[in-house]
Structures are given as C-alpha cells and as structure tokens.
C-alpha cells in the first residue's frame, strides 16, 4: 500500500533525492503526500504535479500504487 513519488530537475536537487515511497492512505491528495514526506519543506509556488504521467492539481486524490511526480515548470524545446 504505497505511492511511488518522483522528483525531477531543480526540485530533485532541492530535496536531495530522486524519489521516495509514501504510505497510501485512502482519500489522500497530492498535497497530502508532499506534506507527509517533506513536512519541513514548503512547496515552491510553481511546482507541477503528475499522477501516472498526466498533469493533475494539488487537490487530486490518489489511488494505491499510483506514481506521483513533482517537478518545476518545463523548459524544453
């Protein structure tokens, strides 16, 4: 019963790791996961989130075994 969490780019450096696992709790949101894993780190205002590789809002509800990613605004092209 867990959520696989991934961090990318400058956020990965800020947090100091590429990912983590979060114990799944029914009804938990994207923001709940951040607060559970990083209670001492305020979320930067421009953070983007994706569940299973699709963009979501911070109040989106997770399912068990979801992959949740946090990352800064994209800069490709």
């Amino acid at each position: 019963m867990s959520i696989k969490v991934r961090y990318f780019a400058s956020l990965k450096e800020l947090i100091g790791q590429a990912g983590d696992d979060c114990e799944f709790v029914s009804g938990m949101t994207v923001l709940d996961v951040w607060q559970a894993l990083l209670p001492e780190k305020a979320m930067p205002t421009n953070v983007l989130a994706a569940i299973n590789m699709e963009y979501v809002s911070l109040d989106s509800i997770l399912k068990d075994e979801d992959e949740l990613a946090f990352f800064p605004p994209v800069t490709g092209g």
Partner: protein
C-alpha cells in the same frame, strides 16, 4: 512519429529517412512541409553558455508529446508529423528539437508546426541545466511566455 534522441540529432537525415518510410502517406498528397529546427545558442540571459544537460521524465515525455500531436491533429488537417527531441549533454550548435508537419496546404503546415513547438515548450517535461563559461551550473527557470498570436 515521436522520438527521444540520446545522441547527435541530425535533422536532415531524420527527415529524409522518415519521408522514405512514409511515402505511402505523403507522395502525391503533400502540398507543404514545414520544418522547425531548434538549436542550442552559446548565450542566454546575458551569459555565455558552454554546454547544457537536458533532463526529461521518461514515459511522461512521450505521453505528453502524443497529447500535443493529438491536440494539433484535432485542430488542423495534417498528413503526418515528426517530432524528435534531444536529451542528455549538449553543446552550442547541437540540434535540440525537430518538428516537421506535412499537409496539403502551406497555411496549415506553418500554423500546426508553430502550435506544436509552443505546446512542447510549455507542457512536455524537459528541463535544461546550463553550464556557464566559469564552470558554474544553473537551471533554466523560464522557457516561454506561451503561444503569441501574430498580428
């Protein structure tokens, strides 16, 4: 076709090979092909840049590129598209991105190609980290103001 490229991106070879592969789709029907090639500069934000690392989110990158192409195809009638993006370590003059749109008429090819590039820059998970001339590194934190309509 969508492709992530981990070594040198040679746009003209890619286009030639793809056109041969897709001749059933293109021959006799294509009236226009619009090609965009994005290349690395040796300066950004007033600083000399000697190299760059392009990070991406494997899997999500391809998924979001597919969404961008599908969104484009819903808006314009296209014959075919080719989108290739480089990742990894790159240097000035390396090609970073190739977008080709084939269509019956030129207006569609121009507009759809521009739309794909703008959507890519604002939605697809790639991140650039620059190496400056003094060896320091910095993340590029702003890429685009989004699509700007030409007047």
């Amino acid at each position: 076709m969508i492709k992530i490229c981990t070594s040198e991106l040679e746009p003209y070879k890619e286009i030639e090979a793809y056109q041969i592969q897709q001749k059933k789709v293109l021959l006799g029907k294509q009236g226009a092909a619009n090609i965009f090639i994005g290349t690395m500069r040796d300066f950004n934000e007033g600083e000399e840049v000697k190299g760059m690392t392009l990070e991406h989110y494997p899997g999500m990158t391809e998924k979001q590129l597919e969404h961008v192409v599908a969104e484009t195809e819903a808006q314009w009638s296209l014959l075919d598209t080719l989108v290739i993006h480089r990742v990894g370590d790159v240097f000035p003059d390396d090609v970073l991105v190739l977008v080709v749109v084939w269509s019956v008429h030129r207006g569609t090819a121009f507009d759809a190609c521009r739309f794909i590039m703008e959507a890519l820059k604002s939605k697809v998970p790639f991140w650039k980290k620059e190496i400056l001339s003094d060896g320091s590194r910095r993340w590029v934190d702003k890429n685009t103001d989004g699509y700007v309509e030409l007047s």
